[in-house]
Amino acid sequence: MPIVVSDTHSTWTKRTPAISALVWMGWLIGVALVVVCLQKISAQTEWFFVADAPAQGADMISRMFPPEWGYGSELLRPMWDTLTIATIGTSIAVVIALPLAFLAARNTTPHVSLRSLALFFIVASRSINSIIWALVLVAIVGPGVLAGIFAIAFRSVGFIAKLLYEALEESDPRSAEAITSTGASGVQVVSYGVWPQVLPAFAGISVFRWDINIREATILGLVGAGGIGLQLNASINALEWSRVSLILLLIFLAVLAAEAVSARVRAAVT
């Protein structure tokens, strides 16, 4: 908390002049960077289309209303498939992520080399988005729900394992030590000293990922991996906006419901 002294009085300031000059420079560089980026984007833009967009948008929205309610009966099966993709995908991910997290956590890993291997799998799974996994899997196992399930599972393994191994590393070492001092074996120490500590976190993480996966499963159909995205893509391509609006409404409700369930479960376990 520096104080600037002049002839007549001294004033309190938040920063020294040198630091405030530095902060100012930081802002200058940041703002310049943003302006350059926006300019590059604007140079590539056909402003003619943008000027037309409000009219286009209004037209599109007017065609969306009223939604074609009768189409709803054909959407039940795709919605069920979407739910299946998210739930089964998350379940598979949980089963794979559990041992992976124990291998990756510093305090439970049997060996350092196994730890680096587990960390590699976690990072690889996390850096590829589920829709890219879906693109690849559709080419391998063919279009359908199965590709979607595995796309969701592969992306979620890294997410669940990362959060779980961080929880494991943050667990209180004293409980584990207390169990060790009774003469328990390594497996017993983990199952009685470490596991109970992370169980609520584990349940919370899994449900949280399930909630995210509901959202992701709605779009996998765009690349042919099953679920309601298939119908959405078809309706958009056929310009059937009254069906599109109904599908969007359904997705919105499903996501809200999933979020509510996940919030309640997480509040209950933590």
Binding site: G30, L33, V34, C37, L38, K40, I41, S42, Q44, T45, E46, F49, V50, A53, Q56, G57, M60, W80, D81, L83, T84, T87, I88, S91, V123, A124, S127, I128, N129, I131, I132, L135, V136, A139, I140, V141, G142, G144, V145, L146, I149, Y192, P196, L199, P200, A203, R215, E216, T218, I219, L222, V223, L232, I236, L248, I251, F252, V255, L256, V269
Partner: protein
């Protein structure tokens, strides 16, 4: 007493205390799983073909070819970076008023509900879905991508920032109010210093997410490295596609590492 204890084995308490709820949940899960697994249509002959297909598919990615589409890759990455930086900056800026409106300790009830509804709508739809509509409205290219990422950033940052604002220490807020400060100076001196480190962390985190998403939304025509990737897939130039995937993974890992560092340093 001692005899009674000796008779049974100690068991750790279950996660769900009520036995009835526990059994009902288990039963429900089993029924659901049976129904879900029973309704999956699997074309097993197609899956069986998958093995050899996977091998040829994966082999066709090797060796990754960085050179023959080198220019397109560089342009794609640059476009992604422009979209990411521009959208994060604009989105973070626009999220602030929405977050203030959506914090129940600052905003009156009607304003709070409207802001929360906007957040819910902007957050529900995955980026790629939003991108489809923006591409339809504004044409192909980075502008649609920029708008998509901005839209997603607003909802995400506003929600998390609003939660931080709701969690501020009320005694400092009260202290500033006791000096007779107006609403804006109250915001600037009581709320802002408490949430600023978290807000910076959030912005950096969102920068990281936006880059990842910019690699995806190109699939539907919103510019960036994703567009380059889709083109490579569509032309069956799998060696180039492999190179692009590697570039994306490397940049994603680098941004994640950097964003983690910066966030730790800020907090």
């Amino acid at each position: 007493m001692a005899e009674a204890v000796q008779g049974r084995l100690w068991k750790p308490p279950p996660l769900i205390q009520s036995a009835r709820l526990r059994w009902m949940l288990t039963l429900g899960a089993v029924i659901y799983l049976a129904a879900a697994l029973g309704t999956i249509d699997i074309n097993w002959s197609r899956v069986a073909e998958g093995g050899p297909r996977a091998v040829t598919f994966i082999l066709s990615f090797f060796p990754p070819d960085f050179t023959s589409r080198g220019n397109a890759i560089v342009v794609g990455v640059l476009e992604s970076l422009w979209m990411t930086v521009g959208a994060t900056a604009v989105g973070v800026f626009l999220a602030v008023p929405l977050a203030v409106g959506g914090a129940n300790n600052l905003a009156p009830r009607p304003v709070y509900l409207v802001c929360r509804a906007i957040m819910a709508i902007t957050r529900t739809f995955p980026e790629i879905l939003v991108a489809i509509f923006f591409v339809k409205l504004f044409g192909f290219g980075t502008f649609a991508g920029f708008l998509t990422l901005t839209f997603a950033t607003i909802g995400f940052n506003a929600k998390l920032l609003a939660e931080d604002i709701e969690a501020v220490n009320p005694s400092q807020v009260e202290a500033v109010r006791a000096t007779g400060a107006g609403w804006f100076s109250w915001l600037a001196y009581a709320i802002q210093p408490q949430v600023l480190p978290r807000a910076i962390g959030l912005a950096i985190y969102r920068l990281d997410i936006n880059f990842r998403e910019s690699a995806i939304i190109g699939i539907v025509g919103a510019g960036g490295i994703g567009a380059t990737l889709t083109t490579a897939f569509d032309r069956y130039e799998f060696e180039s596609a492999a190179a692009i995937l590697i570039v994306i993974i490397v940049i994603v890992m680098a941004t994640e590492l950097m964003s983690g560092r910066i966030r730790r340093w800020v907090q």
